[in-house]
Amino acid sequence: MRRVKIIEEKFFIWLSAFMTYSLIAVLAFIILVIFIKGFGALNWDMVLKTPRGGYYYGGEGGVLNAIIGSLYIAVGATLIAIIIGVPAALYLNVQLIRYRRTQNTIRYFLDALWGIPSIVYGAFGFSLMIFFGMNASLLAGIITVALLIVPIMVRTFDEVLSTIPKGLHEASLALGSTRTETAFKVLFKQGFPGFITAVLLSFGRGIGDAASVLFTAGYTDNIPVNLDEPAATLPLAIFFQLGSPIPEVRDRAFASAIILTGIILTISIGARILSKRYSKTNLT
């Protein structure tokens, strides 16, 4: 009897350890495959040039248009999300601090919003665009992506703000500052590492999302100069190039995938380092 118990224990611990380590293996595998496959086609032309004539038949050029387009959209959307999201998160933690129920309901609601797939935002952005008589453009893409990342921004920032001790908040109020001052000068400062994480997380989501910009941002070979021009994005560039029957173009899709993965990895590592550094100086 005892023997069986021990064997069962050994077996399941081994099994769960295997599952856990396999996750690390899968991540390494994904990144490795993409780097090996795309490395041959990766060169400075890819990063520094826009597509020339015949690019999609194997001609010269690169995906600079998509890199810049993606950055524009992600930066614009993150800015809008900061403008809407930060006051909302502060409001949730300052004005509503006495109303536990309301706070939890709002959090519950935002969590549910987080799960809405980006294609729905894309379709909604598209119908909005038609409603206002706009064409696929940088602006439409920015607004759609902003809608997508606002719940993420608010919840991530809020998660950090809610751990700030109540005493700090009360001390600030006791010194005679108003709630708004407390929110922006005390809570915001204290929650700054959380703010950085929230911004970088939303930025990463914004730059990597394809389904929402598919309808709204359009696609072009030029770098957009105005808000009403269409903009190419990196995920869509990968997607379109991969659909080509020509091997050189497909190789470039893999190279573009390296660029996108590189950007995402940089953001993710940067978020870790920054939030660690700021939380160290803040922990006094």
Binding site: I84, Q95, P117, L265
Partner: protein, 280 residues
């Protein structure tokens, strides 16, 4: 601050209403039931039956769930109960990066690895042939995408188990695994089910990665080695031509509306379960 709070809370309603209004012309000459359960899809003659797309979505999602569920459960148990702090420190970034990789990257990986694997090894192994662009490939890619999401929630759920309960079980002579089985798993049924439910909701709405590997053909056969056409892929693939055929745009918006409602409902339900268990 009030303004931005209100804006955020109003957005989902605007999305729902906007999509509904766009889809409304479709209801004028077809009943809702017929739209959902009919399987004749011929946009040029005005016939929109969503059944093949809904089953396609469900099928891919179900397959991915079969892969995700055991991996997440065991990995979460290992990470919360057995592993060393060092491993947890390594796993956190791994999960974060996996969750943060864009779906296009998963799609590229699926095309490079999973599609050839299915056509060259998996299909011959089961005695059939397949192009590789199939429900099975979609399920595998989706599973990898959903694992970090579900795993994160499971870890959160398991971390709420009070240590005392487990210690009580251990002191009664149970082995570590028995304590885990009876205290951690059994005590957390609602939490585990919610984490799985939310993972399923995410898989259901995933677009680009699935679209790249699933083949996109209107079929209703139950063979996992054949292509299917999930709902999100339908929307993403046809937006270009939808303004040229009458009612097509309404049909696609209806598809988006369906996705929105289904996923919102699943999310609201399971989030409610989680919030409720957290309070206890």
């Amino acid at each position: 601050m009030v303004f931005s709070m209100i804006t955020i809370l109003i957005i989902p309603f605007i999305i729902g209403v906007g999509l509904y209004l766009k889809a409304a012309p479709l209801f004028e000459n077809q009943s809702l039931l017929k739209l959902i359960f009919s399987s004749s899809w011929a946009p040029s003659t005005g016939e929109f039956g969503f059944w093949p797309f809904i089953t396609g979505s469900l099928y891919v999602t179900l397959l991915s769930f079969l892969f995700t569920a055991p991996v997440c459960l065991f990995a979460a148990i290992y990470l919360t109960q057995f592993s060393s702090p060092g491993l947890i420190r390594v796993m956190h970034p791994v999960i974060d990066v996996l969750a943060g990789l864009p779906s296009v990257i998963y799609g590229v990986w699926g095309i490079l690895v999973i599609v050839p694997f299915v056509s060259d090894y998996a299909a011959p192994f089961f005695g059939t042939t397949s192009s590789g662009y199939s429900v099975l490939s979609g399920g595998i890619v989706l599973a990898v995408m959903c694992i970090p999401y579900t795993l994160n929630m499971l870890i959160e759920v398991f971390n709420t188990v009070p240590n005392g309960l487990k210690e009580a079980s251990l002191s009664l002579g149970a082995t570590m695994w028995e304590s885990v089985k009876h205290v951690v798993i059994r005590g957390n049924y609602p939490g585990i089910i919610s984490a799985y439910g939310l993972g399923i909701a995410k898989a259901f709405g995933e677009t680009i990665a699935v679209m790249m590997v699933v083949g996109n053909m209107v079929k209703t056969s139950g063979n996992p080695f054949e292509a299917a056409y999930p709902l999100p892929a339908l929307i993403a693939n046809n937006y270009g031509e939808m303004l040229s055929i009458p009612m097509y745009d309404a049909a696609l918006m209806f598809a988006a509306f369906l996705l929105f409602i289904i996923i919102l409902m699943i999310n609201l339900f399971f989030r409610y379960l989680i919030h409720k268990t957290k309070r206890q």
